[in-house]
């Protein structure tokens, strides 16, 4: 007997200006199943799920929930059908308490609500699935993993039968990720369905029942997780055999280019985000920084780049003190910065491509005026050299796609011949082609003698690209490891707060 799938999406198409994000994609999920939606960034996974949750209207195709044909015109319709999603960027209100956040999800909440009753419901539901949370806690007080739990509880109280999770482990330590999958198992046992959006092959192989691979907006196929391999999945995701692991020449310590000595710095909220950090960065090295987002990595990068002042301690560049040097001076020294926030920090969104290329070099022109014809020539050269795709150099850069924005940024920074490149999550959100390109670029730079400080949440990237990895937790360095000598578990423990010293004591 063939069971009706819980969710069936038939030949869904969705178009945006210039991009066919979903091209007749068919996809189904059964009750009691964890089904992964795998694909590189830009493959169409998020778009497909946005259609399922009612955020986007499909241009073609139909959706059936438990065999019933549906026509979602807004997120409310999807909610009514029992579909809930935990997004990568949490839909939470930071100043609210857990209870207040959850209340936003409750169907038909009474106008004058009974807070105590709701708090009790939250505790009951969360304990049923092993997620402990204090309903009275204010959201900004919780860790990212705990906030994710709130997101899941919201869905439970919503009566969600179909849970969609978008890259949930991106913000978790390996241990927290394991706990999450345990929770998901409990949920499917009670008959719910889980759709997991991911680009991590090993994760979906281990934890799901079936995997559907998307590529360039099309569905390539659905496979049984137990019967497939990483290689097969990779081929489906990319369409070709991926080239072998990146070659990186073994690194020999030469001279120190940048030094942090007992550096402490405050974060935007006034709390201490860097606590007495000491580390040297060597010429020709790629130094990776691992850690869960929010443990001081950004503040570290900003302190090195000159965008955050140091409260205590000192910084030196080639031995010379530069603790008090401003951003301008550091640009002159050759410290380049590829920020996490590409669109509003690294680029001025309303200005066009050549105006943005001038951002780090406009001062070099003599007198008070900028020679725009030279800037235009440079821009054209860089766009060609780095294969940046854009509609026109006269359009505001906010119209460009994610991968090309990053290429433009990198092109500009690398063209300035920096001595030290600080890159914060540079591969985030890029498709495999662009990710590969960025990785090769950074390795190339290090081989030319530049130093790279690479902050990334992807352990695979860090392990494959770097010469050393420092792991940060709570604003401190838990340990410095050699990628060829460490394990994911060791790094995971450090990310969660165990110092390397303590690890080896056991």
């Amino acid at each position: 007997m063939v069971k009706t799938p819980m969710v069936e999406m038939r030949k869904i198409s969705k178009e945006f200006p210039g991009i066919l994000a979903n091209d007749q994609v068919s996809f189904d999920v059964n009750a009691g199943e964890i089904h992964a939606l795998l694909g590189e960034n830009g493959a169409g996974k998020s778009t497909l799920m946005s259609v399922l949750t009612g955020l986007y209207r499909p241009d073609g195709g139909k959706i059936y929930i438990e065999g019933n044909k549906t026509d979602f015109s807004s997120p409310k319709d999807a909610v009514n059908y029992g579909i809930g999603m935990v997004h990568q960027h949490f839909k939470l209100v930071q100043p609210f308490t857990v209870a207040e956040n959850v209340m936003l999800s409750i169907k038909d909440l009474k106008q004058i609500y009974n807070l105590k009753e709701i708090e009790q419901q939250i505790i009951k539901q969360s304990e049923a699935f092993g997620l402990t949370i204090d309903p009275k806690a204010k959201l900004w007080q919780l860790s990212v993993g705990e906030q994710q739990r709130v997101e899941i509880i919201k869905l439970l109280l919503l009566g969600a039968k179909i849970l969609i999770l978008d890259e949930p482990t991106a913000v978790l330590t390996p241990q927290e990720a394991n706990a999450l999958f345990e929770t998901l198992l409990k949920m499917i046992k009670s008959g719910k369905s889980v759709i997991l959006i991911s680009h991590k092959m090993n994760e979906v192989l281990e934890n799901t029942d079936r995997i559907t691979v998307l590529r360039d907006g099309k569905s390539i196929g659905t496979v049984d997780s137990k019967k497939t391999t990483e290689k097969e999945l990779a081929k489906m995701m990319v369409g070709r055999n991926i080239s072998d692991l990146l070659e990186k020449k073994p690194f020999q310590k030469k001279e120190v280019i940048f030094s942090l000595n007992k550096v402490s710095a405050l974060g935007n909220s006034g709390l201490l985000k860097l606590k007495s950090i000491s580390i040297d960065i060597y010429r020709g090295e790629i130094l990776g920084v691992a850690g869960v987002d929010g443990n001081g990595q950004k503040e570290l990068a900003e302190s090195v780049a000159g965008l955050r002042s140091v409260k205590e301690g000192s910084l030196s560049f080639y031995g010379k003190d530069c603790t008090k040097c401003g951003r301008k001076k550091r640009i002159d020294l050759g410290i380049s910065y590829v920020p996490e926030d590409r669109m509003t920090t690294g680029l001025a969104p309303d200005l066009n491509a050549y105006e943005n290329i001038a951002l780090n070099s406009y001062r070099k022109y003599p007198g008070g005026f900028i020679q725009w014809d030279k800037v235009r020539k440079d821009t054209d050269r860089l766009i060609q050299k780095f294969d940046v795709r854009l509609a026109s150099t006269s359009n505001p850069v906010k119209m460009m796609s994610g991968g090309n924005i990053q290429k433009l940024l990198l092109a500009r920074e690398i063209d300035s011949d920096p001595k030290l490149i600080v890159a914060v999550y540079p591969m985030r959100g890029l498709d495999i082609g662009a990710t590969d390109y960025v990785k090769r670029l950074l390795i190339e730079q290090s081989e030319k003698g530049k130093a790279v400080l690479l902050i990334s949440e992807d352990l695979e990237d860090l392990l494959s690209m770097t010469d050393r990895i420092i792991v940060m937790h709570g604003g401190e360095i838990m340990g410095v490891v050699n990628p060829s000598e460490t394990t994911r578990e060791e790094i995971g423990l450090m990310m969660a707060g165990k110092r390397k010293v303590d690890l080896h004591e056991a």
Binding site: F16, T53, L55, Y56, S74, P75, K76, A78, V79, N80, M85, H87, K91, L92, V93, Q94, P95, F96, E100, M103, L104, S105, L109, K110, Q111, I112, Y113, K138, W140, K154, L158, S269, G270
Partner: protein, 310 residues
């Protein structure tokens, strides 16, 4: 300066602060929902002129107030359509609205200058409570709109923190995409917030022409709409503190007037500057206070929300 005089100044302060209170409460609602409304000044003027016009010709101040509410609401609707429907700049739209409202009210009121009012809000003595020494004479011998404004503060506080509507409103100003994704109608919430805000601004204007100065003069709000917006920051977007701010402002303004009468040797023009300078100082001091994101500016304030972001 004897006690009676101080009581008079404070009582007058409450009256002077009431139009600002109405407008401020309205702006608190709009901004909590995430929409900045700089058109308050224009809405107050349109409210003032329509209240005076209708109130005087129908000899019914309540009808005048009602029309002011509608007028303010309609103007706010324009702002809402432009900023929420068309996602245009909230600052520019608000400014356009103020300029439009100034012109419209001048036009509508062109034959009303110098006309005496026929129905105004006069002080109503509250039995028993008004007998309390000092406080009784300040707070309980005021007109009905003053009493209503205080009730409004209490109601607003309750709605904001104890009801679903308030929850949605606060969420709309902090994270509109969350509200949308959870199946609520974010656009309805924001439209309502802006329109209610405009209605209250209209009410503030009505108070000016039917209670405070019982007349119509072009531009009679003299910047009070702007002061109301500034006081929202002082109030940290909370209705109770808005009450404090409005009445404090009212007392300062009233003090200025009375000092003149007392023959204090400060030129009257400087005393007239006092309320504006006071508001400026308050603005500077409290902006620093709200730097702490935990209990401060609604995070999504001023940013247009759109569902299909690519």
């Amino acid at each position: 300066m004897d006690l009676n005089y101080i009581i008079a100044i404070l009582a007058a302060g409450v009256v002077a602060g009431t139009p600002i209170l109405y407008a401020s409460l309205g702006e608190v609602i709009a901004e909590r929902g995430g929409i900045l409304n700089l058109g308050v000044e224009g809405m107050m003027l349109v409210g003032a002129v329509s209240a005076f016009y209708v109130g005087t010709y129908t000899e019914n101040k309540w009808l005048g107030l009602l029309v002011a509410l509608i007028a303010g609401g309609l103007m706010a609707l324009i702002h809402a359509v432009i900023t929420i429907g068309f996602r245009a700049s909230q600052v520019a739209s608000g400014l356009a609205l103020t300029i439009f409202g100034t012109g419209l009210s001048a036009y509508l009121g062109r034959n009303l200058v110098g006309i005496p009012p026929t129905s105004t809000f006069k002080p109503v003595v509250v039995p028993i409570l008004s007998q309390i020494p000092v406080l009784g004479k300040i707070f309980f011998v005021q007109d009905v709109m003053v009493y209503l404004s205080v009730a409004l503060v209490v109601i607003l506080w309750f709605v904001l923190y104890k009801t679903k509507a308030g929850l949605l409103l606060r969420a709309a100003g902090e994270n509109p995409s969350a509200v949308d994704a959870l199946g609520h109608n974010i656009f309805f919430v924001r439209y309502t917030a802006v329109i209610v805000g405009g209605m209250l601004a209209g009410a503030g204007g009505a108070y000016l022409s039917l209670a405070y100065s019982t007349s119509w003069v072009e531009n009679m709000s003299a910047g009070r709409g702007w002061i109301a917006v500034a006081l929202v920051i002082f109030a940290v977007w909370d209705p109770r503190r808005a009450l404090l701010g409005a009445w404090l402002f009212g007392v300062i303004a009233s003090l200025g007037l009375h000092l003149q009468a007392l023959g204090v040797m400060i030129p009257s023009n400087f005393l007239q500057m006092l309320p504006y300078v006071f508001t400026f100082i308050v603005l500077v001091l409290t902006t620093g206070e709200t730097k702490n994101r935990r209990s401060g500016t609604p995070a999504a304030l001023g940013i247009p929300y759109s569902r299909e972001e690519r």
